[in-house]
């Protein structure tokens, strides 16, 4: 009888331990998932920040280069814009970086 209580008690302890272990595991898992959420958010933030930086830099280059000779044109479809920017790279001797930044800005 005493043995039965012991087994029951042991089972209870094991069950309790398992519950605690699962809870801990679940907690750890949640922590990992939170970490993943954070890294995903960080990637998004980084991407957005980089995109914004490129766009702003592109806008700056657009005004400092294109505005030197002519009025600012409207934005055209990306594939049309790509031809215009290549033409301007040759005609106005834009640098490679300026060409990419301006194209990025004009196709956003």
């Amino acid at each position: 009888m005493k043995m039965k209580f012991s087994i029951n008690g042991l089972s209870l302890l094991v069950a309790l331990f398992l519950c605690l272990a699962l809870a801990a595991a679940a907690k750890t898992g949640n922590g990992k998932e939170k970490g993943k959420d954070t890294s995903a958010a960080a990637v998004t933030v980084n991407h957005n920040a980089q995109d914004d930086t490129m766009r702003l830099e592109g806008e700056k280059r657009f005004h400092s280069n294109c505005g030197r000779c002519h009025a600012a044109p409207p934005k055209f479809p990306p594939r049309t814009m790509a031809t215009i920017v290549r033409h301007m790279r040759v005609r106005a001797t834009l640098t490679d970086e300026e060409m990419h930044l301006i194209l990025h800005y004009m196709t956003q």
Partner: protein, 357 residues
Amino acid sequence: MRTLVWAKRVAHACLLLFLGLSSIGAHGQDEEIKPVPILVGYPAYFTRVTGGQVQDAPSFSPLLLVPLGDKWLIEAKGNLSDTYAKNAKGDYIGTVSYGLGYAQIDYIANRFVTVAAGRFITPFGIYGERLAPNWVRALQVSPLTGPITSGSSLGGMLRGGFPAGTDKINLNYAFYFSTVNTNHLLATDRSTGGRIGFFMPGPRLEIGASFQQLLQLDRSHAVGLHAEWQPNALPLTLRSEYARSSGIKGSGYWIESVYRLNQLPYLRRLEVAGRAQQFFAAPKLTKAVAAKLGALGRDTNQADFGLNYYLRSDVRASASYGRQFALGKNANIWVIGMTYRFIMPLAPTSGAKGGAL
């Protein structure tokens, strides 16, 4: 519970993969945009009154741009105009003129060098290459220094622009060699030369110099200086060129300012332009040579003032008045007219991944 956890993990992995790919896509986005052939055109109609002589000149300048792959570009620009003026009998007669501004193929070899071949605008100063199109120029009257050098060349050219060791200064250059062509429509001189410029994006200032050596006739050479400045605080452009020939074509300079009235609500589409210029004929010209040179054979001072109004971003109305002072040839120059600029893709523009030709 376990299934739920795995589902969450897979979902997160997919999200991360998507974000990662989006990021990579964003980095390579510009490269993925495949350019299409386009036709650009500048139809224009201007009425010009020079010393009481009226000229009506409708014109059209089509520009064809054909990109090939990632590094090639074919550029061809034509000019067609019909100038109506009264002849000696008082009849209103039209004279058609046409020509080929340039027809060149460009190969972007790397970030430093672009190789061009064919007929191209001579890289001397900034007016001919950058500011000459009707749509672009602030004043329709051309500078007097234009004819000092050959406007077009036939041959090969190396050009490019890159940061000069720092992001604060960009170096741009163009060096060429041209052969002679005696065709009356495509005439070019045998010559060589180039231009080098330093552009500072911060203060938006460019200064540069040009050189041309004629390899025929009197084997004269020409040198030029140019500067352009757009203050950050104002919608103002100041530009200037100086050119001097060692031969019989004299020397001269012009200074131009263009101010866009951005700050005035009802006039923000209006642009005010002014130019002052002086031309000095070469000394010791005989009367016969001076007569043959025409405008290049006499000292001339000229001042122009003009207005440009952008009815839309692609339609511009222009008017200008100028006063030319030349010995025995003082004249008022009135110009009024309109320019339209269109850009027409010659292939479907939908879908960034479509192949170029």
